[in-house]
């Protein structure tokens, strides 16, 4: 009998060892060698899931590993909609990378959770004056910078030249003109403009923010409370409700960023709002349409209102507190900012990613890119918008409130309530404002 018992136990242990074998992703621990040579493994999460950007980053990593034979960089990609869950659950379980790209709105939460390390030494090394001050300030807390911008882009209005021309319309400069044009162009299977408010993304917040910013307002008050019931914000809500009802596919209440953009890429919408990423998207989906797209600054409320920009995104790099080798991360980041590598990286999505450091856009290598040459007007319009804008809610400096405004889908659900349940605009806005303020309160 005993022999059998032993047999069973061995069986169980065998099963156990199979299990252990398939759990094998444990990180090997290495320490920096004494002579200052870099040694160790780092993990780099980034959002460039496919195509040229993925390749450029991989190339840079390979080169870096060649130069530092004791370093191993493993790269892992994520898609933006997954990112919030990915890093929050990761932080809860200790599964965060050594370095990653991020979104400015989340950087504030990361700083607050003490999850990332200061980057000032690296910023100084590359040259603090090369970065735009406002971009650096997005990752700043108590005078210390925790993130550095990798590239910048800003939201502008995209239109279809051919459709406007056929209808005898001008490029709209005000929201009223925009609405008129969008309504006129909604016919024959084409939608004037899709209004996206899927609650898994922040698109409705973004669209409402355009309108509110165009009137000089903000979605947050000066003391960082939600501000959705101002007359300006209510006008903005009504404006987009009108666009949804008259010019948008009804499914757009569920749309996230890609659903929205894809419609434009495929030539199904006449107007859209996005950064220069629109160009590569159209080029990939409908190559014949590339000549027919153009961009303009976001519409204003009145024609003679001052120029403005609603949303600039300076996509940053961060190094995580959990990292055993911040020095490797920083050395690698420095490599990414080297002129050759950096220009190659930007050229992966020309005009989509604008340089976050000065002196790049003047170089011959940057200028000579075919797409940059072709869309030089667009590049200039977006570059101007980049200089004037901030992240959503960052008009009052970076704040957790701004982050929650983006990540919790409250404004999206508010629009859904209005659009699908027919809730009254003021009531819905008040409820959303209360919900946001409650969330802000819990966080404190």
């Amino acid at each position: 009998m005993k022999r059998k018992l032993v047999l069973i136990l061995t069986g169980i242990m065998l099963a156990g060892s199979i299990l252990t074998a398939c759990g094998g992703d444990s990180k090997t621990d290495t320490t920096a060698a004494a002579d200052g040579e870099l040694e160790g493994d780092i993990t780099f999460w980034h959002s460039f899931t496919q195509g040229a950007r993925l390749e450029v980053i991989q190339e840079a990593a390979d080169e870096f590993m060649e130069g530092n034979p004791n370093v191993n960089i493993s790269i892992e990609t994520f898609s933006w909609p997954d990112f919030y869950t990915k890093w929050t659950t990761g932080l809860a379980s200790g599964n965060v990378p050594d370095m990653s790209t991020a979104l400015p709105a989340y950087v504030v939460e990361m700083m607050d959770a003490e999850a990332i390390v200061p980057m000032d030494d690296l910023i100084d090394q590359i040259g603090r004056d090369k970065f735009s001050e406002s971009a650096l300030s997005e990752g700043e807390k108590d005078g210390v910078c925790y993130s550095m911008p990798l590239y910048s882009h800003a939201q502008v209005m995209w239109y279809r030249k051919d459709l406007l021309k056929d209808a005898g319309l001008e490029v709209p400069a005000t929201w009223d003109q925009f609405a008129e044009a969008a309504k006129a162009l909604t016919k024959d299977g084409i939608y004037g403009c899709s209004f996206p408010c899927g609650s898994s993304d922040q698109m409705a917040t973004r669209f409402l923010n355009y309108y509110v910013r165009s009137g000089g307002g903000s979605l947050l008050t000066d003391d960082l409370q939600a501000n959705i019931t101002s007359d300006l914000a209510l006008d903005g809500i009504r404006f987009w409700v009108d666009i949804y009802k008259n010019c948008s596919p009804k499914d757009s209440v569920n749309y996230a960023v890609l659903d929205q953009a894809t419609l434009y890429y495929q030539g199904k919408t006449a107007f859209d709002f996005n950064s220069g990423f629109q160009i590569s998207g159209v080029a990939a989906n409908s190559p014949d349409m590339v000549d027919q797209i153009g961009c303009a600054p976001l519409p204003k409320i009145n024609k003679d209102d001052p120029d403005y920009s609603a949303e600039t995104s300076n996509t940053p790099l961060v190094v995580w507190q959990n990292s055993k080798h911040p020095e490797i991360c920083k050395a690698f980041i420095e490599k990414l900012y080297e002129e050759d590598t950096y220009i190659k990286f930007l050229a992966a999505t020309p005009v989509g990613m604008l340089p976050a450091i000065k002196g790049i856009s003047e170089t011959e290598a940057y200028r000579s890119n075919e797409t940059v040459q072709k869309f030089i007007d667009a590049e200039q319009i977006i570059a101007k918008a980049v200089d004037m804008g901030t992240s959503i809610g960052f008009e009052h400096g970076p704040s957790i409130q701004a982050g929650l405004l983006n990540s919790q889908g409250v404004i999206e659900r508010m629009f859904q309530n209005i659009l699908t349940n027919g809730e009254d605009v003021e009531t819905a806005a008040q409820a959303a404002e209360d919900e946001l303020n409650e969330l802000f309160r819990i966080i404190q």
Partner: protein, 296 residues
């Protein structure tokens, strides 16, 4: 002899022990753990938390959104279950009746059961896509609809669409089980009834029903629990939207735990969910036990 008996006991326990340990560790422990967390301010990211007694339960039970989710869950369960039983049952009877093609029908109709939820979600989202979907465009081309119907965003259609998809997925399971129960019924009973001149309905009521009653009852119990607990189908198709129209209790709990990161409060929601299901089961099993007794 006595010694031998002891050894005997020992061995029979070895057979069941691994399973008991797994069930104990993986199912009993989490219940207590959840019960504990449900009384704390446990947060997804922040390490520190406090014990707050029943405050979470109080907060949940005074939240109108919870009751809305609960109500949605009930409708979702009752409608899906009725549909699944109806379709599953009638299709099993039909297959049992026809002479040719039994196997073909069965094989074709069982397919949805094999679908991973993510593929259920993607395939239906694609078929029903409000711009390029097959069905909306087909309905417009056939002239049935004037504009593209929006199955997944129109507030009068989205919930019905979800229930339809759930019926599509769940009916095969009922069908297969009922079918196999039907095949255990001795044919001579029907023959005898036919000689006595019993109508189809009478045969069904007096012969078929008593034989499959218990199987159907059990299926209803299992399906009720499964549908009530189901998270993936709704999460992957609508995410609970638009405007929380399709937010059921599991979705509500998930958003609470991983959206607003309040794991403690989310645990309280899931404990209430379990409590409710227990209640339902007690009722069901009482009825089932009565039926089984009648059988004997």
């Amino acid at each position: 002899m006595k010694n031998k008996r002891k050894q005997f006991d020992y061995v029979r326990w070895i057979f069941v022990l691994p399973a008991l340990v797994i069930v104990g560790v993986l199912l009993i422990y989490p219940i207590f753990s959840s019960l504990y967390y449900s009384m704390t301010t446990k947060h997804l990211i922040k390490p520190a938390y406090d014990f707050i007694g029943l405050a979470n339960y109080q907060a949940v039970l005074t939240d109108p959104e919870f009751f809305q989710a609960f109500f949605t869950s009930i409708i979702w369960t009752v409608c899906s279950l009725t549909g699944q039983i109806l379709i599953g049952f009638t299709s099993a009877l039909a297959i049992n009746r026809v002479k040719h093609g039994k196997g073909v029908y069965r094989t074709l109709m069982i397919i949805p059961w094999a679908f991973p939820t993510i593929v259920i979600a993607l395939s239906w989202k694609w078929i029903l896509n409000g711009v390029s979907g097959f069905l909306p465009n087909l309905l417009v081309q056939l002239g049935i609809c004037g504009t593209l119907p929006q199955f997944l965003s129109d507030n009068s259609m989205v919930f019905i669409t979800l229930i339809f998809i759930n019926i599509w997925f769940g009916a095969p399971m009922i069908m297969v089980n009922v079918l196999s129960a039907l095949q255990t019924i001795p044919q001579d009973q029907y023959e005898a009834a036919q000689i006595d001149g019993a109508s189809h309905f009478q045969q069904f009521y007096h012969i078929t029903m008593p034989h499959i009653k218990v199987v159907v009852g059990l299926l209803i119990v299992l399906r009720t629990i499964w549908i009530f607990n189901n998270f993936d189908i709704i999460y992957l198709i609508t995410g609970g939207g638009p405007a929380d129209l399709t937010t059921t209790v599991p979705i509500y709990a998930y958003n609470m735990g991983w959206g607003t990161k309040m794991l403690g409060k989310s645990s309280a929601v899931t404990m209430l969910l379990l409590l409710f299901l227990l209640l339902i089961c007690v009722v069901y099993f009482t009825i089932l036990a009565k039926w089984e007794k009648e059988d004997k």
